[in-house]
């Protein structure tokens, strides 16, 4: 049977890369060290597969057909299309179709309706954390896109349930694999909206406390009340909620919180307590 060997979260704000020359040395060092600590933990877990939950930023999907949740079941995924990510070291990333198929089958058995894609392109949401954390070697990637970008969104409660289902899928996979889950995105930020650039530090710190506490119903109430006012990008906290579900709501250990104005994002990094 496969083993859930680690559950993690990391922000993926493009300005971490694109605005690097506008950040202070201390800000860059803080972000770099947070990613490196995250990568150290992921590498130490000796993963065969990493399930990465991220939004698709209008790369694979459009309003012609925008899945709520989509599992990448392909043998291989394309690297990021963003011109400013040319230095990302992988043009192709290996997938794990067998685990991806098992996740889809388990999801359906649990009354979910996942979409599947045999050919996903992984944008900065996936690739900034994979790159900046320096995970070596890079495990096979099962990408899962959550629609955090364009309403209607999956509910917070539904995302948590999806995470618990994901943990069950990993535990019931009939193969000897060490599997991790990495949720990317968040915390508060606003893109293309009137409050673009605003970081809601009070929301972020409350949110972190509730993830640390591990009380899932309290987290749902908090997010249902406060998420709508934390900026459209804060919707990506849904991915963290799925990770929280995968970790059975055991609570997480914060690696770093960096509210850096020139990144536009309240950047958070964490790993969950398991076992």
């Amino acid at each position: 049977m496969a083993e859930l060997a680690g559950v993690y979260a990391a922000s993926h704000g493009p300005m971490i890369v694109r605005n690097r020359d506008k950040l202070t040395t201390a800000e860059n060092e803080s972000l770099d060290s947070a990613f490196i600590e995250l990568g150290r933990r992921i590498t130490a877990a000796r993963l065969n597969v990493l399930v990465v939950i991220s939004p698709d930023h209008w790369v694979n999907f459009f309003i012609d057909n925008l899945p709520s949740i989509c599992v990448g079941v392909g043998e291989v995924h394309d690297g990021p299309p963003e011109p400013w990510l040319k230095a990302f070291p992988h043009r192709k990333l290996a997938g794990h179709p067998a685990l991806a198929e098992h996740i889809v089958r388990t999801a359906v058995a649990h009354d979910f309706e996942p979409s599947v894609s045999y050919k996903l392109t992984l944008d900065h949401g996936f690739c900034i954390p994979l790159w900046k954390s320096g995970i070596a070697p890079l495990p096979a990637i099962v990408p899962v896109t959550f629609n955090d970008i364009e309403p209607p969104f999956p509910s917070v409660k539904r995302c948590y349930a999806w995470g618990t289902m994901l943990a069950e899928a990993i535990a019931s996979y009939p193969g000897k694999l060490r599997v991790g889950v990495l949720a990317t995105g968040g915390l508060s930020h606003s893109i293309g909206e009137p409050d673009m650039g605003r970081i809601d530090e009070a929301f972020d710190r409350d949110c972190i406390r509730r993830f640390e506490d591990g009380d899932a119903p309290a987290l749902f109430d908090f997010l249902n009340a406060r998420l709508p006012a934390a900026g459209n990008g804060a919707s990506e906290v849904r991915n963290w909620v799925a990770a929280h579900g995968a970790a059975r709501g055991r609570g997480f250990e914060l690696i770093r919180y960096d509210p850096i104005p020139n990144v536009y994002v309240g950047c958070g990094f964490a790993s969950w307590k398991l076992g």
Binding site: F62, P81, P152, I191, G192, E193, D195
Partner: protein, 113 residues
Amino acid sequence: MKHREEVIVEYTALLPTHHSSPITVFQMRDYWLSKLFFDLQTPAIAEEYRADRGKVLARYPLKPEVRAAVEADDVAGLSKLANPYLLRFYFLMAGMPEDDFLRRIRSTGTSRG
């Protein structure tokens, strides 16, 4: 037996309004404007657009008022019609300086917080 109009009025009263809370449960978009923004993520199309806007715009059946808003770089007007990520991408691609975009989008009001 109720008249059809009465039933419709009762049903409509149950529907959430688009602006009843800061969260947007669902918001209709302008499809062709969104498609233009989406397609401009392709570098070759973006290059063509920067060289000759009219040539690219002619391929999209935009409503006259939407096309006029595009031609006028009307951030406020377009912000109501497309996803905010695509809106932000579009003006970045089109060459509007970040500070200018921020000033214009912030002038549209405070939708949150």
